[in-house]
Amino acid sequence: METFEEFLKRVITIVFWILLLIPLIIIPVVLLVLVPLGVPVPTANRIFTAIIDPLVMLQFMDELGLGPSSLFFKIAAFPGFTFAAGVATLTILYERKLLAKMQNRVGPLYAGRFEGILQPIADLFKLISKEILTPEKADKPFFWAVPFLVMAVGGSFLALIPLSPEIYIAKSEIGLLIIFAIIGFFPLVVLIAGWASSNKFSFIGGLRALHQLISYEIPLLLSAIGVVLLSGSLDLMKIVDAQKSMWFIIPQFLGATIFYITMLAELERIPFDLPEADTELVAGWYTEYSGMHFGILQLANYVKLYGLAALFIILFLGGWNGPAFLPPFAWFLIKLFVVISAILLPRGTNTRVRIDQLIRLGWVYLIFLAFANLFIALAVASLGVI
């Protein structure tokens, strides 16, 4: 086991070599490609400054039309996909460490030398190096499309979720409605996955997922309608603005609870992980996916987790509102940490429910409670408390 000093030494050595190799090899190669293409090439001096000075780098990207204010940067990098994937990766690591602590284990320990912080990267390399197997009888175009469809569904509604008054990709007056419309695609994708794999376990898992997602989308939608009634808008920005004085979790506690339960079911997490119940269905509708296909599915799931957690914060926990000593985005991150922890915790303490119990819970109790919650919202709104 290396000490921390040795680890630092290694990191410094690696950084030194990278800094040495960039001007010696990478920049000449890039220039050799760019000059014949006729792209306006900045001076080598400027490129070197850009590497060590982020501000120059940002300017540089601005000139190419890829700066932080451009739509491309927003979608690909900051409030968009890269940020979500980063949060998802950290969530995977956090989940493993948290579960390990609950179960008297240590969890990932060696990769990265310090509490296994590089374990997600090690996992990524493992998945990339594995062969992607396609079953002979599978419906190949659909089979190959599914991981990317899941990622598209999980990632696309992130575009409508604002992270602070300034950080957002797209604004819409009916943002909440669009988000629910996008989430509604998910059962279809899962059914395609179950059918296209041509595996009996995948098929049963796909059907289970279909039943589960359909029976839980209605309470999910109904519990969010209470918030719409109180704020009088489907625009997520306005919903957050309406919570300046009081978070909606206080008048809408029942709604928040229903949203939390349905969120767990929507994410197929224990106690609602029946579509991938590993002891009876091998891995449910994931069964035939291997290698990076499985990696993408897994990442998409956690991106979806991040998206729904962010939605929960915006609807019930007042979004980025908070005392002024921290910037709004910091408040958002703190709340994100709390909500993600709350989503991860049931995995350590609960057993899986059965499909008939799950459907009864969804169609009978949760819908009834969601309607009751709607009347609470109506009463609160008509009394003019908020």
């Binding site: 284990r105 376990f201 049963i204 590993d278 009876e280 091998v282």
Partner: protein, 368 residues
Amino acid sequence: MEVVDKEGRTLTFSVGPQHPGSGHFRIIVTVDGDFIVDVKPDPGYVHRGAEKMSEERTYIQNIPHLERPVIIDSCGILFPYVLAVEELLGIQAPPRAQYIRIIMAELNRIISHMYWLSIFGIFLGHSTMFMWPMGDRELFIDLAESIGGTRVTFSYFVPGGVRNDLPEGFKERALRTCNYFEKRLKEYNKIFFSNPMFLKRTQGVGVLSKEDAIKIGVTGPNLRASGVASDTRKDEPYSSYDTIKWDIPVRKEGDCHARGMVRFQELFDSMNIIRQALDLIPEGPVKVPMRGQVKGKVGEAFARTEAARGTMFYHIISDGATHPYRVKISVPSFRNLIAIPFLLKGSHIADMPPIYWGLDYWPVEADK
């Protein structure tokens, strides 16, 4: 996709032999929607001919290979063999050896039940209940290792006593482990056995009534969970078990929850028995001195003991040679196998893991 019947309503698939929920054992299941309509168990993947092998080896050479079928309960499967051979030889183990055998058999029962409990937890999707008992099981394995020398396959019981005496300071260590483990069991109860989700998944699932249980012939904890107070340790006391006091845990419900609770209670009882045995244990030799090859006199011998999964029975026929003429093993798992199709028919797919593992069926033991 292979759909079997003409109406196209049912789907047949095979659970095992490499399924994560089965071991080397296959169940061919036909489902109609979420309900199981037909079940065909397919045992025999790990048949190794333990009975035939016994005819080719001497009485002493038989000991290591006879415990292979169920290594997590190796003393349980060896106990009746040793008793039967002693009957053939006309000897009896000294009192100290009898109590050491009790301690070892109960340690093995705890080790086996802990393994069962952790798999039961993960079969229901409760990963914490998988990790905790697997970790705490090591404490008892360490205790047993200090006596027997290896982790699971001890080959510790020999005709005429046990191989060696207890190590120094064993009593203190055993009592300390038991005291610690009792605290842990209370935590198990909080997080798993009184968890409403667990109750919802197991209560009323796979109900085996008292009449059916007797008719099918299940033994051990499964029989006790169906309301029959049957325990070979009480009914036909052997090896000084009659000097030890405890109550047989009996539940009337006969469902998966009752089977779980009976085994949970047996963890307490086994520790209780170990404590009493450590108090009662006398000084003296641990082995009857024997010289030369062990030769049974011409005749037959029977022995029946209570292993972790139920009644373990041996019938040995000797023709006076150094090898037994015939060894018949009757294992509890094979009798519990008959209950699997009986209970699975008509249940949900999701109830398959708790019913299957609730019976504590051990494929290797059944296949011998």
